[in-house]
Symmetry: C2
Subunit: 139 residues, 2 copies
DNA sequence: CTGCTTGCAAATCTTTTGCATTGAA
DNA sequence: TTCAATGCAAAAGATTTGCAAGCAG
């Protein structure tokens, strides 16, 4: 069992929730791939886990802070959230559709905090997407 | 006719597209409200414009850079884009669901540019959402 | 006129729900 | 054993498409 699946177990047990096979499978599917759409995730679990259970699991994981939904262009995508993966932002290539994670940038983070505070807003979380053309699509 | 509808006309004519009533209605519905979901937009045009035409119009407007889809929590919302409204970001309150626009912050913008450039990424656009609790929900 | 746009209706895709059954603790 | 969690199937909701009719240019 991988180390991160152990973390999943921990998160579930802490809430007295069962550690079931569907939950493990969905978690690993999320772990193995780039941010993915719901249909992609469903395809990844095809035959093994029922569609409805995947939806239910994603909702649960979101409540537990295990996954987060990103709006990438038009449709949302899913990825593991900060507790299971470093906090980061995304570069979306409008040409090839690729999504590249950006390494954390302390300066930027600090600046966003300050910005929120300036507006009496208690920031908990944020998302940033930069859209344009990736290095390899610039010919 | 309002000034901004004139801008819509201009944008359409420049592409040799018809200035039709559905397009005007959808445009004004977008102009009159906060960022809204597709069902909200449809409700706003209820009876006047057909659902399918609204979808088609939104796709067109997006291609023309007139509207943009935002990640607001879970579902996307639509709003007029930068050419028709000042560039800005959003504070989303997780408690009351309100979405507050942030005034443009030159320092932040510059930094995002720098960040993209550092990764050989030709940025065209970006979106930032900060989530947390707004001033009035902090009791 | 002429071809772009629309409305309508049906198809398709996505998400949610009720209920009987299964399985983790 | 017990209750939460699952699978299944059907419902509900969102989005797309084909086609005939309408309207802007």
């Amino acid at each position: 069992m991988s180390e991160t699946v152990a973390a999943l177990q921990h998160a579930l047990q802490q809430e007295r929730l069962s550690v079931t096979n569907p939950r493990r499978v969905v978690f690993q599917a999320l772990q193995d791939a780039e941010p993915q759409t719901m249909p992609q995730l469903i395809a990844r679990c095809r035959g093994v886990i029922n569609r409805a259970s995947i939806y239910r699991t994603v909702v649960l994981f979101e409540r537990l802070g295990i996954v987060q939904r990103l709006q990438i262009g038009w449709k949302y995508k899913l990825e593991l959230s900060n507790a299971f993966q470093h906090h980061h932002h995304h570069l979306t290539c409008l040409q090839c559709g690729g999504v590249t994670p950006l390494p954390e940038d302390a300066l930027l983070e600090k600046q966003l905090d300050r910005l929120a505070r300036r507006h009496d807003f208690a920031a908990q979380d944020h998302q940033l997407e930069i859209r344009g053309r990736c290095a390899s699509c610039q010919t």
